[in-house]
């Protein structure tokens, strides 16, 4: 299954290679969607695909080392009845998670979405919500 994790490093943890250790130990490949790091603390949003027990193991591994891990579940919700496929949300998405398809309908790639909320504000039909 595919999940997204919000990984928050508390103060002083940034320089430790915790994520690299976690990837090496569990063998799970991660895709970093967004990272806000400074010298002392940081936040990452990563997407990954693995079986449930492996995900549990990864989350446990990180938590044991003092890193906060949160699962992001179904963050983006698009009400397809409200959506008119206008495209007002497309060019403002920082991670190109919204696309116009061949037939001009608008498609959201929920796996890429980092939940920034830009499309929620930009949608004139109030069709997008973050949950």
């Amino acid at each position: 299954m595919k999940v997204k994790l919000r990984i928050v490093y508390p103060t002083g943890y940034v320089e430790r290679p915790i994520l690299a250790e976690a990837i090496l130990t569990t063998g799970i490949k991660m895709n970093i969607l967004e990272a806000t790091l400074d010298a002392r603390s940081g936040e990452l949003i990563a997407s990954l695909e693995a079986e449930e027990p492996e995900i549990e193991r990864l989350v446990g591994f990180l938590r044991d080392r003092g890193v906060k891990v949160e699962r992001i579940v179904g963050m983006l919700k698009v009400d397809k009845d409200r959506c008119i496929d206008c495209g007002a949300c497309v060019s403002i998405c920082p991670v190109q998670a919204i696309e116009i398809s061949e037939d001009w309908s608008v498609r959201f790639d929920e796996d890429r979405c980092v939940g920034c909320g830009a499309c929620v504000r930009a949608c004139p039909m109030k069709a997008v919500t973050l949950v």
Binding site: C86, G87, S91, I92, P124
Partner: protein
């Protein structure tokens, strides 16, 4: 070029309608027609195709609906009224109102507005009606609170003063902050480009000579049938920004094509679906109907400049805009539409279906739209007083040959400081002040012409007071004769007059 606009040299409206009736009219959407022309050539395509259908679905702020509520018991002359807390215009008869798309809810603000009320009505939902009145002998009721649906209304007429822009500029943002505009969210440093309109499908682009679209043209409006009732406001055909005024029966429309919207930090509006059939009555119409996205141009404009005259960054065609990436200042940036091209296509398809099923007939316009109007800006004029409002029209004048002692007496008696000197025809030849006269008497001079100032600084009736004040200080004088265009004296304006005037303006 001796051609008659609207001439039916390829086919007439009657011929097309006859084919529609029989079910064998050849109809193509504008997209289909443009590619058919590329493949078969204009000549052949124009001969075969009777009608080209168009469509657009975007935010159209100049939209709204006339509603008639019917009379309550006892009756009421509504003075103010609200629909779901959105104020409707009540400067009409007792129970007529106009709900405008951009009016906003007094309780929910940007979230809900007139556009949403119209969508709710068309969807058959209940809408709260609240009204106030001052009460008259014939309309005693003063307050009303009830619920209505569109069924309850006597009339519900969508009447939009400006819809279906021929084309619109594309937007970008040069500043270092995100802008929230009616052109959507514009990222800083030219981070994206947004555009409106459906290009190849855009109704007015497909008859840019205004040969078939005119007063009385039957159209697809909000999922129902509507009519063009004239040029839209700000109609600017010379610059390629034509617009339409349209109306239609709201009761027969479909909420799929009328959607209330809120543009973040801008306000509320209504997305309106408009589709117009273009009958190929002559080759000129066929030629514009065949225009492709790459033939339709607009400009990318910098919305970072808060002015009416925003600078254009470059020209761009709809093909590039629709590609999703546009080059701005040597950088490729993401680009997306604000109006729904998928819905525009659906509208053109629906109109095509109506025509091929024989349930929609074309009308010949009873009058064509103007092609030469221009769109004037509104200049903000500061109201400043003019000389004619401040000057004294009764002027004491004298002749150059008058005796100085007599004039000095006049000056004292009438309590004035300036005497313009005029010839027999009233033309200004000089001026004397009380100071000049005192000096002349002391020196024993006799005649005015020996002491008067000949080079006189004057003012005109419509000069601004600002300009008079600056002349006074520049020439160190305290009064100016006011003259007409033949230099005849018609008044006098003094520093006293101006300060009295200013007093009136600034003191309570």
């Amino acid at each position: 070029m001796g051609f008659v606009r609207g001439e039916e040299s390829l086919r007439t409206y009657e011929e097309i309608n006859e084919k529609v009736r029989r079910g064998d009219a050849v109809v193509m959407t504008a997209e289909e027609f443009a590619s058919y022309v590329e493949q078969a050539g204009l000549e052949k395509a124009a001969k075969e195709v009777d009608v080209v259908t168009t469509g657009t679905f975007g935010a159209m702020c100049s939209s709204g609906a006339f509603l008639n509520f019917g009379h309550t018991e006892p009756p009421m002359k509504m003075y103010r009224c609200w629909l779901n807390d959105v104020p409707a215009y009540k400067g009409l008869a007792a129970v007529d109102a106009y709900i405008g798309a951009t009016a906003m809810s007094e309780t929910r603000g940007f979230e809900y507005g007139g556009g949403h009320v119209i969508e709710d009505l068309v969807s058959g939902r209940e809408v709260e009606l609240r009204a106030e009145a001052y009460g008259t002998d014939c309309y005693p009721r003063k307050y009303l609170e009830t619920h209505i649906t569109i069924e309850d209304l006597n009339q519900a007429v969508l009447l939009n003063p400006r819809n279906a822009y021929q084309r619109y500029v594309a937007a970008t943002n040069s500043t270092d902050r995100t802008l929230y505009t009616y052109m959507g969210t514009l990222l800083p440093h030219y981070g994206n480009v947004t555009f409106s309109g459906s290009g190849v499908l855009n109704p007015l682009c497909k008859d840019s000579g205004f040969e078939t679209i005119g007063v009385g043209t039957r159209i697809f409006l909000g999922g129902g049938v509507g009519y063009v009732i004239g040029e839209g406001t700000q109609h600017n055909p010379r610059k390629g920004f034509g617009t339409l005024m349209v109306k239609g029966d709201l009761k027969r429309m479909n909420p799929r094509y009328l959607r209330g919207a809120s543009i973040y930090r801008y306000g509320t509006t209504l997305y309106v679906g408009v589709g117009i059939p273009i009958p190929l009555i002559n080759m000129r119409v066929a030629k514009t109907a065949a225009l492709r996205d790459e033939d339709i141009w607009t400009e990318i404009v910098d919305y970072g400049v808060p002015s009416r005259n925003r600078p254009a960054i470059r020209k761009v065609n709809y093909k590039e805009l629709k590609s999703g990436r546009v080059v701005v200042n040597d950088e490729t940036v993401p680009c997306s539409p604000l109006s729904s091209i998928r819905m525009a296509r659906e509208i053109a398809e629906t109109l095509k279906k109506w025509l091929t099923e024989g349930i929609f007939f074309l009308t010949r316009p009873v009058e064509l739209l103007p092609t030469d109007t221009v769109f004037k800006p509104l200049e903000v004029k500061r109201r400043e007083p003019r000389v004619r409002e401040v000057m004294k029209a009764e002027v004491v004048t004298a002749k150059p040959t008058d005796d100085i002692r007599a004039v000095a007496k006049l000056l004292v008696n009438r309590g004035v400081d300036h005497i313009p000197i005029v010839d027999d025809k009233g033309v200004l030849v000089g001026i004397v002040t009380s100071w000049d006269l005192a000096k002349a008497l002391a020196l024993g001079k006799d005649r005015l012409m020996d002491v008067m100032t000949r080079r006189v600084v004057t003012a005109g009736l419509d000069d601004s007071i600002d300009s008079v004040v600056s002349k006074m200080s520049r020439y160190n004088i305290s009064g100016l004769p006011v003259v007409d265009d033949r230099r005849r004296v018609i008044g006098l304006i003094t520093a006293d007059d101006i300060s009295r005037r200013l007093y009136r303006r600034f003191l309570p």
